[in-house]
């Protein structure tokens, strides 16, 4: 294909943006506004390019498309990019969330604006790179590289305990990932290459698969995160600035889910089958335990963070059923969670910017002062608990359907998670929005500004659109999901 190297453009555009931004001096309000606009336009342009990618994507083709391959390090490790029906959605999700995040930080970031925006654009490069790379070393490069800007975003612009949280975040994920690095090196040595499309057809022996699967699992389990290694997530979320939380929940967690689909079950089907019960048990424990923990949280962000862990439990459940529905459900659940949890964190950010507290008990009766906010928040709370007609429902439904076809008991336990999700979500909503407006400082609260409305409108639209008419999304995922499932079944038989 001699087309435009569109994936490289997507990856490099934020870097170009960073280059221009380093040239802008940041010494007064005007210049810091210029910086914000530059970053916003760069990321919005990237979003438009990714839309072009989405529309020129051939939905019938299950293979990797827009492939680019150049000599990079040595024979076997190349700069190889490409997307299929699964990764393309994550790319669009990423490019959509980054401008929203930048827009959301317009007022909340008060100092070092330039560094903040540069960190964000660098993060975008790494995130897009993760989803495009078809080479394990390249993947690892992007996967780990994203830690650097995120470490700085939480550490510099975070809350009070930001140092503790960011160290925990960094060291947890690093400790998990280094085992994946060893596994990648082992693959490089035995298979002679780290090229993903080659490795998908490569057969590892059963023992190799088990060890390698565990090494990859160590990394993805921490990143997604699965119970009991989820404890870094609430800390990181609570201390991160709003936009940092949005990206963390919206995209960073999905890297691990994507990794499970692409690598764990793609390369090591036998080991995946062997360990599937383990995943099911861990996921169900995660769904139930973290939902219960979410019930007792006093901090809004912590509550949403724990609910993220529960939602990710559904994702892992779906992936390891090895059914087309399961994988489709997981991907939709991830996309939906990427939109909904991102929006929920933005909702928290809205009230946090006004009152500078995330304590749930400090709020109450907001509906009378902020009707538009109450409406927005309601939509996302309902989507989060999986109400039919919202995107949350589609994913959860497909996952539950697939798990029912595997094992009824697992399905029953998983379904209780849905009930618990409704409990903590609605209770959060009741405590914050309903009730009497008795606290004095709340009566000064202003409703959504125009900028905030602009942020929420696309998210609401997407949530409802996917909820009512998920077919376009499923059409994109289906060929690739089918191909993965048939590959796995082919290797297993």
């Amino acid at each position: 294909m001699n087309e435009l190297p569109i994936l490289s453009i997507l990856i490099l555009l934020p870097i170009v943006g960073i280059f221009f931004m380093t040239l802008i001096r940041n010494n007064n309000d005007q210049s810091s506004n210029n910086l914000k606009h530059t970053a916003l336009w760069i990321s919005f342009l990237n979003f438009l390019i990714s839309l072009y990618l989405l529309f020129s994507f051939n939905q019938q083709d299950a293979d990797f498309q827009f492939e680019e391959r150049y000599f990079w390090i040595e024979y076997g490790i190349s700069y190889h990019l490409g997307v299929d029906g699964i990764s393309i959605l994550f790319i669009v999700l990423t490019t959509m969330l980054v401008p929203i995040c930048i827009l959301a930080s317009y007022d909340s970031i008060k100092f070092s604006v330039k560094e903040y925006l540069i960190a964000f654009l660098a993060l975008e490069t790494f995130m897009i790179g993760v989803f495009c790379s078809l080479d394990l070393v390249l993947f690892y490069l992007f996967f780990e590289g994203g830690l650097i800007p995120m470490f700085l975003i939480i550490g510099i612009w975070g809350g009070e305990r930001r140092v503790y949280s960011t160290f925990k975040f960094f060291l947890y994920t690093l400790a998990g990932s280094v085992f994946m690095l060893l596994a990648i090196i082992y693959i490089f040595i035995t298979a002679g290459t780290t090229d993903v499309s080659y490795l998908l057809d490569y057969n590892f022996t059963r023992n190799e698969q088990i060890v390698l699967w565990l090494a990859f699992f160590a990394s993805f389990m921490v990143k997604i995160p699965m119970w009991p290694f989820h404890t870094w997530l609430p800390d990181a979320h609570v201390e991160a600035p709003t936009a940092g939380s949005v990206i963390l929940a919206g995209v960073l967690l999905k890297m691990a889910g994507y990794g499970f689909i692409r690598f764990s079950i793609g390369f090591f089907p036998e080991a995946s089958e062997l360990f599937a019960p383990l995943i099911f048990v861990l996921s169900i424990v995660a769904i139930i335990v973290t939902s219960l923990i979410a019930l007792v949280q006093e901090d809004m962000k912590k509550l949403i963070a724990y609910s993220s862990v529960a939602h990710m439990g559904f994702v892992t459940l779906g992936i390891f059923t090895f059914t087309v529905q399961g994988i489709e459900g997981s991907v939709i659940q991830m996309i939906s969670h990427g939109i909904v949890s991102a929006a929920l964190f933005l909702c928290v950010g809205v009230v946090y910017d006004r009152l500078h507290t995330r304590e749930i008990s400090r709020y109450g009766g907001l509906v009378s002062k902020m009707p538009m906010y109450a409406f927005t928040f309601m939509i996302f709370i309902l989507a989060s608990l999986g109400l039919p007609g919202t995107s949350g429902f589609v994913g959860e439904f497909l996952v539950l359907l697939s798990i029912f076809s595997i094992n009824t008991y697992f399905a029953v336990f998983a379904t209780t998670g849905v009930v618990l999700a409704a409990t903590y979500s609605l209770w959060l909503y009741r405590r914050m929005i309903f009730g009497a407006l008795i606290k004095d400082d709340l009566s000064e609260m202003l409703d959504l500004t125009r900028r905030e409305i602009i942020i929420f409108v696309p998210l609401i639209t997407l949530t409802i659109f996917i909820g009512i008419y998920p077919k376009p999304v499923i059409d994109i995922i289906e060929p690739s999901a089918k191909k993965i499932v048939s590959q796995v079944n082919g290797k297993l038989n």
């Binding site: 070092s112 560094e115 992007f142 650097i148 470490f151 140092v163 060291l171 690095l181």
Partner: protein, 469 residues
Amino acid sequence: MENILHIIPEIFIFCSALILLILGLFIKNIKLINNLAILSLLIAVALVINQPYQSIYLNSYVIDEFSSLFKIMIFIGSIVTLVMFVSSREDLHINLYEFPILILFSTLGMMVMVSANDLLAMFIGLELQSLSLYVLAALNRNSLLSSEAGIKYFILGALSSGLLLFGISYIYGFSGNTNFNLIAVNYNSESLGLLIGIVFVLAGLAFKVSAVPFHMWTPDVYQGAPTPITAFFALAPKIAAMGLLVRFLFNSFGELYLDWQQIIFFISIASMMLAAFAAIAQTNIKRLMAYSSIGHIGYALIGVACVSSEGLRSLLIYLMIYLVMNISVFTVILSLKRNDAYFENISDLSGMYKNHPFTTILVALMMFSLAGIPPLAGFFGKFYIFVAALESNMVFLAVIGIIASVISAFYYLRIVKIMYFDEPKEEFDGVNIRSLQVLFYPSSFLVILFFIYPAPIIQLSEYAIKSFY
């Protein structure tokens, strides 16, 4: 006459050192002497590149791809040190014309080290290098710490030379030869003396590369010595000693690797782990860099312990990247100056990014690189080390290596934390001297942008190990 032409770079460095020594008596312009020394090192680079590869003087001196690459790395280290000297000589009270000359002599010793293929040539090179370094470490006569560093380094260095000589005498006694290629010819299972010899020689060399358990001098000497000399310690002698270690082990005992592999194995693990834990508690940035260098030597030794072409290749990649990263970090350490006074406490860096945003992000990235976080150059160094380790089935070593790298990430992150997350202190000078900028920016960008096209470095190191495999 033709014989002498084979070692023209060495002779050139020697002559220029002597000429500068005499010139220095009459010309009081230290900067000029220093610049002439830099010039002669640059000429020596050109001479080394154009040298024909051969083994000379009854095979006791080898000029091959390997030695040439090491010599160029050593020249880079020496040139960097001399450039650093220009900017700091007055403030550090080391404004003596002997400085560039001692560096030249030390460089000459290191050139002999990496080319030596004979126990005696090796010893001569080592001693020439060490004697210059003892003096350099104590160059600031007014400073107690510097004198202490010099004395400490001298006493421990003399001890290690003693061990080395002792080992050499055993090897000579049991094999009847001093040439690397001939030592092990008559080796058999009864040659216990030879084995003792190897152990003692390795102990002496481990001291020079500062591997645990012979590392004790490193933190004190790093801290006490004037910063340009600390940088020199980190850049050149360790690399040279590593080259010597490789040639000694691979040329003489390459086929008998089972006998020494476990020694390297042990000192590698010990270095990585000790450095990872000991560095956490450091408050002085030079001490921290000392432990960091111990840790990095531990990683580099994995490459030696693999005894394979991949191992050597990864060692060379690692050393090259290590050299560049250290240049960048030490130029920053040298520019930590507030009101004309240098400071070395890590806590003095706090909030540095407020006043020096651009420098700080580069330093932070250097720290991430030292910790081995992709996509920076340090990651590729570790990546190839682990490739070599797994290829030689040394899974244990690789696992220890990655655990140590996670632990050591903590103390590198601590510096980033102090620079970014803590409250700013008053402003300091920063990298504002032209001569330091010339070092700082290229080396930093090299580390950061290395990932774009790493292939040349990898091919270069493959080329350089041709004489071994």
